[in-house]
Amino acid sequence: MSKLLEVKDLSVSFNTYNGEVQAVRGVSFDLNEGETLAIVGESGSGKSVTSSTLMGLLPKPAGIIKSGQILFQGEDLVKKSEKEMQKIRGKEISMVFQDPLSSLNPTMKIGNQIIEGLIKHQGMNRAEAKKKAIELLDQVGIPHPEIRVNQYPHQFSGGMRQRVVIAIALACNPKILIADEPTTALDVTIQAQILELMKEIQRNTKTSIIFITHDLGVVANVADRVAVMYAGKIVEIGTVDDVFYNPKHPYTWGLLGSMPTLDADDEELYTIPGTPPDMLNPPKGDAFAPRNEFALEIDAVMEPPMFKVSDTHYAATWLLHKNAPKIEMPESVRRRIEGFAKTGKKGGE
């Protein structure tokens, strides 16, 4: 697999009245062709800021890229001007947002909103573009596309609106689709439909997807690889199987342990104590240390580097250092993961 996108040591800050908020602090990852990379984390972990930086959509002048490179097909997107970015945005990299209602223009017919990009990026005329728009609506599973194309967003349900947004994003056959919590505002049954649609589209078009979410269930469903973010950093990255069945970072343990299984009994849920740090003054050393029951002395002094677990699996915790005491994941989390594996076998029923 070849690398489509390389993010190297990206740091993004926001200037506010209270000072500099360090939203993203040295994030590096690759995106391969045709794969889905999920970025998970809590609110404020920097996952959405990372994605809007990739799209060149940081609010200006408050948001500043402090350092780093975003290499897309060998070109650094950080150095591009707004005009150059406009050629890439929508054509090479496009985005699906969380709320389908606010990402559509309520005063424009659905068809015209899809056509916009086709005319601008692909130089089609209106008639061609309209034909293509109907095709796209059909492709994302909207019934009667020839009628629907002339309707307004308020005539669509939430799930249908998200399908329209996906159709717009796919209009110019982008190489990368960034989906920022695309199913969070939807009901579970609709969510399942949208996830299936995205997977099907990926099979047909080989588009790479960056999927941003806080829902680990959704990650397990769509992702090939997962990056777990905490306090503006990637703390663990690996294939879905690496991260879900063999997690190494205490934060990942906590996330997995705090979700109930369907076989759940009266056992108390494992929780991560405390709250995420204030990114105005990120703590010295490992940002997760104050909430980490396994924190070592060094955590308060020095940030852990990425330790290699396997060729595909990395985690940033001092627990993986060769001199660290041998600490296994908590019993309740281990049981939970085993519980998942059990329901996994029943899944085919």
Partner: protein
């Protein structure tokens, strides 16, 4: 918690709540819903948006007046005409926790005044000192510090605000708390903290919960019994284990098959069931029938026989 299945704390009988939608149209948000809640249990109410689960909760506590039907709390009709004194007495027994912890707390009041409001209304504190002590006690019970009492809601994170909402509900020592999506606005790691807190408080105070949510795995975890709502109707009601192991109604099956689990292996092999309302038998009006002891399904008599066969009974 041992639930005594004989003492009913709440009986909802044929509850209906219709909203006018202009031009003689009405929306039947809750359409003939009946269920009981036993003392000390957690009753989960699940359904998608628009299923009427929140309206049911709000009608039970009389934030809405019912269009028809009865809500009996300890055998007394909540919706009957009542004097102010009677209403006060009832309000003390039933409290509510809301979804959005930032919009349900008055931004101009200190945490002390927010939590003590119930104490003031019901004259539960004799003097200022007792009032303050009681609030501090409540803050500690929900995992906050007593120093927090003088602060304002904006100084807290989402999870802490939800704890304040819980402390406020607890202040008047209620018997039943209606939790309307209390964790959906919170981060995953904070959700587990709040759920553990709710469970702990239930044990300590012998509380009964009506837990309304759309996150099915969390509802399964916290509830003893679960009712599934769809388009204003209760379509299935059973003990939570029974409901997850032997769902009968096609809608429940589709809802269960759509829950994403944090397990890649399961997700790869998962088969989603889609709900097709046209498969229902329309020869007669469906009724709520007991298919197994304590397991109820909304169906026609023909479907009833068919579901029974599927269950192997």
């Amino acid at each position: 918690m041992i639930v005594n299945k004989t003492e009913k704390i709440l009986e909802v009988k044929h509850l209906k709540k219709y909203f006018p939608a202009g031009r003689k149209k009405i929306i039947k948000a809750v359409d003939d819903v009946s269920f009981d809640i036993y003392k000390g249990e957690t009753f989960g109410l699940v359904g998608e948006s628009g299923s009427g689960k929140s309206t049911t909760g709000q009608t039970i506590i009389r934030l809405y007046d019912a269009t028809d039907g009865e809500v009996l709390f300890h055998g007394e009709n909540v919706h009957a005409k009542k004097s102010r004194v009677e209403k006060l007495k009832f309000n003390r027994k039933m409290q509510m926790i809301f979804q959005d912890p930032s919009s349900s707390l008055n931004p101009r009041m200190t945490v002390l005044d927010i939590i003590a409001e119930g104490l003031d209304v019901h004259h539960l504190a004799k003097n200022e000192k007792e009032r303050k002590e009681r609030v501090e006690q409540l803050l500690e019970a929900v995992g906050l510090n007593k120093e927090h009492a003088t602060r304002f809601p904006h100084e807290f994170s989402g999870g802490q605000r939800q704890r304040i909402g819980i402390a406020r509900a607890l202040a008047v020592e209620p018997e039943l708390i209606i939790c309307d999506e209390p964790i959906s606005a919170l981060d995953v790691s904070i959700q587990a903290q709040v759920v553990n807190l709710l469970k702990k408080l239930q044990k300590e105070h012998g509380l009964t919960y009506l837990f309304i949510a759309h996150d099915l795995s969390m509802v399964k975890y916290i509830s003893d019994r679960i009712g599934v709502m769809h388009l204003g109707h209760m379509v299935e009601l059973a003990d939570s284990d029974e409901l997850y192991k032997n769902p009968v109604h096609p809608y429940t099956k589709s809802l269960l098959s759509a829950i994403p689990l944090p397990d890649p292996e399961y997700e790869r092999s998962r088969k989603r069931i889609t709900y097709d309302p046209s498969i229902h038998d329309t020869s007669e009006e469906p009724k709520f029938r007991e298919i197994r002891p304590h397991h109820w399904v909304r169906c026609t008599s023909k479907e009833f026989e068919q579901y029974k066969k599927e269950l192997g009974e």
